[in-house]
């Protein structure tokens, strides 16, 4: 009796089953279970307690601050990321390779260091510290510092999502548009942008998720002033350290929910992008 035909690239049935099992196990234990735990813990004492925990003044301030930081960071990184992609993919200039490396730098540097750099520059003992203090400008331990650190950490998301697509698409369509009489802005708005729109939206969502969730860099520049410079991730830590588990898990659940919504939106966009 002959064995059933198996194509060359196909693994043995037992190998396939083992690999699938391993992947599912890791997915459940490492990824899904902790997430489920956060929501379970948050809801353990019921919706009422959860709601009360979220409605606390400092928590509301943290949520507000997080949204403000994201609202400033995401547009800046969208425009900056697009500009970097546009420059790298559509033009040749000296230092282009350096720019490509710089775009990825925030991914490879520890967020704590990203935060420390800003303290070093703008902090009271930093390079520009005395100059800023003389003019009563507060950057570190204030909103500008939080925004700067978040911009730095989340810069690559838009750029890295869009750049490969732009490079793959080349310059021909832009050149064709130019010969047809389109201005630079018309070319960008009517040819380049529509070609990258799904990747761009997906990059923006990832950037937003990270901007709201960033802990390390923000922790260094924040100063942890409750109700003033505490973002949601920092607030979770403070509540947890003070044994306020109900509050900690309530904020954590909200943060996780924001992340999940982002992920769902991104998945949906990618599906649309494939059909467009």
């Amino acid at each position: 009796m002959s064995a059933p035909f198996r194509s060359a690239a196909e693994d043995a049935p037992w190998a396939r089953a083992l690999l699938a099992l391993a992947a599912i196990t890791i997915g459940v234990v490492i990824l899904a279970l902790p997430l489920a735990a956060v929501f379970t813990e948050a809801l353990r004492r019921g919706w009422g307690v959860l709601w009360a925990a979220l409605a606390e003044e400092d928590t509301l301030a943290a949520i507000r601050l997080t949204l403000i930081v994201a609202a400033i960071t995401v547009p800046i990184n969208t425009i900056g990321g697009l500009a970097a992609c546009w420059a790298i993919a559509k033009h040749d200039f000296p230092g282009k390779r350096l720019l490509v490396v710089l775009v990825e730098l925030p991914f490879s540097v520890s967020p704590v260091i990203s935060g420390l750099v800003f303290v070093l520059i703008f902090g009271a003992q930093g390079w520009l510290g005395p100059w800023l203090q003389a003019r009563d400008v507060q950057i570190i331990f204030a909103l500008p510092g939080l925004v700067l650190a978040t911009i730095f950490v989340t810069f690559p998301f838009v750029a890295r999502t869009v750049l490969p697509l732009m490079q793959e698409q080349g310059r021909e369509e832009e050149e064709a548009a130019a010969t047809l009489g389109a201005s630079g802005w018309q070319i960008f708005r009517r040819v380049t942008l529509p070609n990258i729109r799904w990747a761009l939206l997906s990059g923006i969502l990832l950037c937003n998720a990270r901007a709201m969730g960033e802990f390390g860099a923000v922790s260094v520049v924040s100063g942890h002033v409750r109700g003033m410079t505490n973002t949601m991730p920092l607030h979770v830590e403070i509540l947890y350290n003070e044994y306020q588990f109900a509050g900690a898990f309530a904020v954590a659940a909200l943060l996780a929910l924001l992340g999940l919504v982002t992920l769902a939106a991104k998945t949906l966009l990618e599906r649309r992008g494939r059909h467009a």
Partner: protein
Amino acid sequence: MTVEASGITRRFGDAAALDGVDLTVREGELVALLGPSGSGKTTLLRVIAGLEGMDAGTLRIAGQDMAGVPARERGIGVVFQHYALFRHMKVADNIAFGLDVRPRATRPDRAEMTRRVAALLALVQIPDLARRYPDQLSGGQRQRVALARALAIEPRLLLLDEPFGALDALVRRDVRRWVRGLQERLAITTILVTHDQEEAMEMADRVAVMERGRIVQFDTPSALLDQPATPFVAGFIGDAARLPCRVEGGIARFDPLPVAPLPAAVPDGPATAFLRPSELLAEPGSGATVRLLRPQGGGDAHLVVEAGGLVLDARAAPGSTLARGDACHLVPRGGRVFPTAG
């Protein structure tokens, strides 16, 4: 619309892609830029289109100096090698693009735009494809869309960059004849870049043969065949065999090859002869052997002959009865002889 280029030079790093190119294209003419890859023909086309800068030289289109005139103000229609259709736009929007990006004062209204697009679709013979996206079209259809899009801006000059390269051989022949007919009907000055000499010779009024960033000869197709200016042109145009010979007193001798002498108006000394298969007749004799034989009907036959280690395409002399394996010798009926440099 005339094009006058003089001394155009374009360097990429140390390498000169264009090295002092002079080219004059007359009103309504179709000129082909023909050359091997890397000869600079596409770069020249891009310089004319304004997509590439030049390091030296002047370019005039309709007498107007193009220095500092950006691509979008030149009013030149370009059909790109891979068509470069806007992939997210329907065919109709692709074609209307050049009209739609005009400033409001010169932009046709919706109805006029629709009418113009329909007319262009009819012109390129794809009236039913207006609502399709580029990725739903065949190569030939995409090419027609690209042509219609370029023609929509009523260009004074049309540039075609290897426009038939992505089509399969059968479609290519039909499409290029159709394009040539259309070009004549519209009387639009056209420059075509190609590496396919059959395409250049069939379509163009004049052909500029390019080699290493220079135009080595610019002439009509028949003049290129009959009076090639350099050995490169003689070897590149037509399907010529290259035979070493020695010229003495106006006669090229091919000893020790079994090839009869050929009159040659070049100085005495070593030389190279370029002989097309139709110019090389095989007669019964000695020194060469018929290796392959392809009858053409009517007693005519294409031969592959081996002579002194060379494999040559030849024709059977009229009335000869050569068969595979027969011994023969070769008689040149014509050919172009160039003194060997150095």
